[in-house]
């Protein structure tokens, strides 16, 4: 079936180095390797990056995005928390914020935009910030998502890849669905590579790394994470329904994998496939990877020790087999229980 390439039109300014990296709540909770991989990729590319605080004393708070969209926190508190992070970045001499999470990206961007729309806000937040923690409001030069950086350096990474998105036996280009996080492309479309309708941040990676993109009717449909909808169990049917809708829609194209750049999407497009199979009998078994996980695998990093594919519900090993990537299955589980129980 014909696949469609939509040419991107939005030109976004992506900084090339000196990043302040902010971590993600969802990734930290369920896909921890994914965000560590961002730092590994930055290191591989020889880029300078710092996070808040150092290993011995962490200052990394979250941006409160999940809580904000979960309706638990005032916008002013969010402004203060992000201002605090910006102040730490400024102390480190860094003016380029790269977030691990797309909701963070939208939150930081929303804060930046508010200072432009609301007269006097800058002065008020500066005052409150001093009152709260003795810091000053300093607006960063750039706020981007970490996938923007990987997009920018996708060709450099392409040169370093040991593997490609190809079936290593037949040479067929793998069909990869690009699922871009809603908060990356839709909330501030002019800040997304390619805009909301023809977003290229993941499609560009797929093309650069040897694969083929897939255009299917529900391509831009939300994964359904929905913050309070996924967090509170009785509401999670909505999330499942959204995932099923997307999977049903992409199925005629028989995709080999789904690529994401959002922690929530990566989580639910993967995990709900099991429940859907149980409830409807439909087996999709489409491995779902984040852009950092995919990069790590194609670079030849250890699938279990470094990339962390064991955290996925849909097994990723069949995809590795397709690409001819070697792995030692016995390394998957460690046999150690969590101290003190869950």
């Amino acid at each position: 079936m014909a696949t469609v390439n939509l040419a991107p039109t939005t030109i976004k300014e992506i900084p090339e180095n000196d990043f302040f990296l902010t971590p993600s709540c969802i990734l930290g909770a369920v896909n921890p390797g994914t965000e560590v991989l961002i730092s590994r990729i930055y290191d591989l590319l020889g880029l300078t990056w710092r996070a808040a605080g150092d290993r011995a004393e962490s200052q990394c708070t979250c941006c409160t995005g999940f809580s904000s969209h979960g309706d638990l926190i005032s916008i002013e508190s969010t402004l203060l928390v992000t201002a605090r992070l910006w102040s730490i970045a400024a102390e480190l001499g860094l003016e380029n914020i790269t977030t691990a999470c797309v909701t963070s990206f939208a939150i930081h961007t929303e804060c930046l935009e508010m200072y432009e729309h609301e007269p006097g806000l800058h002065e008020r937040v500066d005052r409150w910030l001093q009152q709260a923690c003795g810091r000053r409001l300093q607006i960063p030069k750039h706020v981007v998502h970490a996938s923007d950086i990987v997009y920018r350096y996708r060709n450099d990474l392409a040169h370093k890849l040991r593997y490609r998105l190809l079936d290593h036996e037949t040479g067929r280009r793998l069909r990869v669905v690009d699922h871009v996080g809603c908060h990356y492309a839709k909330v501030f479309p002019e800040k997304a590579i390619g805009g909301a309708e023809s977003c290229d941040v993941l499609a560009g990676l797929i093309r650069a790394w040897g694969g083929e993109t897939v255009d299917y009717p529900e391509r831009r449909h939300c994964c359904g994470m929905g913050f309070r909808q996924c967090a509170i169990r009785p509401n999670r049917g909505y999330t499942m329904a959204c995932v099923l809708k997307k999977l049903d829609s992409m199925e005629p194209w028989q995709p080999d994998a789904i690529l994401t750049n959002c922690p929530g999407c990566n989580l639910f497009l993967d995990k709900e496939q099991w429940a859907i199979q149980q409830m409807t009998g439909k087996t999709f078994d489409i491995p779902t990877l984040s852009y950092t996980e995919l990069a790590g695998l194609l670079l030849g990093w250890d699938p279990y020790d470094v990339v962390g594919i064991q955290a996925h519900t849909v097994p990723v090993e069949p995809l590795l087999d397709k690409m001819g990537i070697a792995y030692d299955k016995s390394k998957e589980w460690l046999g150690k229980r969590v101290a003190g129980g869950t």
Binding site: A29, L72, H183, P189, N235, T313, L334, K336, A339
Partner: protein, 314 residues
């Protein structure tokens, strides 16, 4: 870090961990907090980890402590936004739409073209949900209609995805408006009138507890296998060795670091709490506690039972 006897009081934190909220009633605020903190900050010298964090997480003790601390911090905090939100609570909804930082920029005019609802995943899923009608209610400036909206389940169906935002012909921010109205609904206690609204109490301790104690919205121990059977047996297996897997992958479960599960320095936590307080969030959390206590009493159940109920209702 502090040893258990630092305060000189004879409180045994290990006992407190298993107590219910009503049993902790007798213990004064300061002692409760000190006991919690000393237990939490006990460091296992060999591994450099804090093994009691996981024991404290999700307990009545933690929630009760959070309740007390939030009240205390709100009382001593002299924040402009705290006063603002206290005042806003008693103003009409129409006042909020003109004055709240998000709401006032969210709406301009609407031609009722429907592109927002056309794209909305929630409108496709919930038969009675139509986000355009929420915007319409706000534009009519009709107080009665707005109050009805704030008391309904309708307001809570939105998944905050933003699919509506890039489409709007008149550049409205429907997603932001809904978020703003939800805040107001809780502030006025109207959330108690709907099943989905009442769930906010669950969120208060889930995300709110994480923010207060870990400065992060989510915590790896939240996503239990029992609470997420839809994730399947592979997830259950992973979760059973989550801590070890996290360390292996470079994360920091219950220990200092940059990545998942990290324990932050006390200074950072204090700064973060101040940011929450100065932004007025504690007004909301205290209101949520008040509403919950009222609703629990009305239903003849304890606050802990109420907390479980709102997690499961719907």
């Amino acid at each position: 870090m502090n040893s258990e006897s630092a305060t000189g009081k004879k409180i045994l934190p290990a006992d407190l961990v298993s107590k219910k909220a009503e049993e902790l009633d007798q213990i004064p605020d300061g002692e409760l907090v000190a006991a919690y903190e000393s237990f939490r900050d006990h460091e296992d010298a060999e591994s450099g980890t804090y093994p009691n964090i996981s024991r404290l997480y999700g307990t009545s003790l933690e929630r009760e402590k959070d309740r007390r601390e939030t009240r205390a911090q709100a009382e001593t905090c002299n924040a402009e936004m705290q006063e603002w939100y206290e005042k806003a609570r008693n103003e009409p909804c129409t006042w909020w739409l003109k004055n709240h930082l998000v709401a006032k920029h969210a709406l301009k005019s609407c031609i009722a073209c429907g592109v927002c609802t056309a794209q909305c995943p929630a409108a496709q899923y919930y038969p009675e949900y139509n986000p355009r009608t929420i915007l319409d209610a706000a534009l009519t400036q009709n107080e009665e209609r707005l109050v009805e909206l704030l008391k309904s389940d309708t307001l809570w169906y939105c998944g905050q995805c933003g699919s509506c935002k890039p489409k709007c012909s008149r550049e409205n921010n429907l997603m932001g408006l809904i978020s703003s109205l939800r805040f107001l609904a809780q502030l006025k206690g109207y959330h108690l009138c709907s099943v989905r609204g009442r769930q906010q109490y669950a969120m208060r301790h889930l995300c709110g507890g994480n923010l207060w104690n870990r400065a992060c919205s989510l915590y790896f121990r939240n996503i239990t296998a029992e609470g997420h059977p839809d994730f399947g047996p592979r997830y259950a297996k992973y979760q059973s060795e989550a801590e070890a897997q996290m360390v292996r992958l470079g994360a920091n479960p219950d220990r200092p670091g940059h990545f998942g599960g990290r324990k932050l320095s006390p200074q950072t936590l204090a700064e973060f709490r101040s940011c929450l307080a100065c932004g007025g969030t504690l007004v909301l959390w205290n209101q949520l506690e008040e509403s919950a206590a009222e609703d629990a009493t009305k239903n003849g159940i304890s606050i802990d039972e109420y907390h479980i109920r709102v997690h499961r209702e719907g």
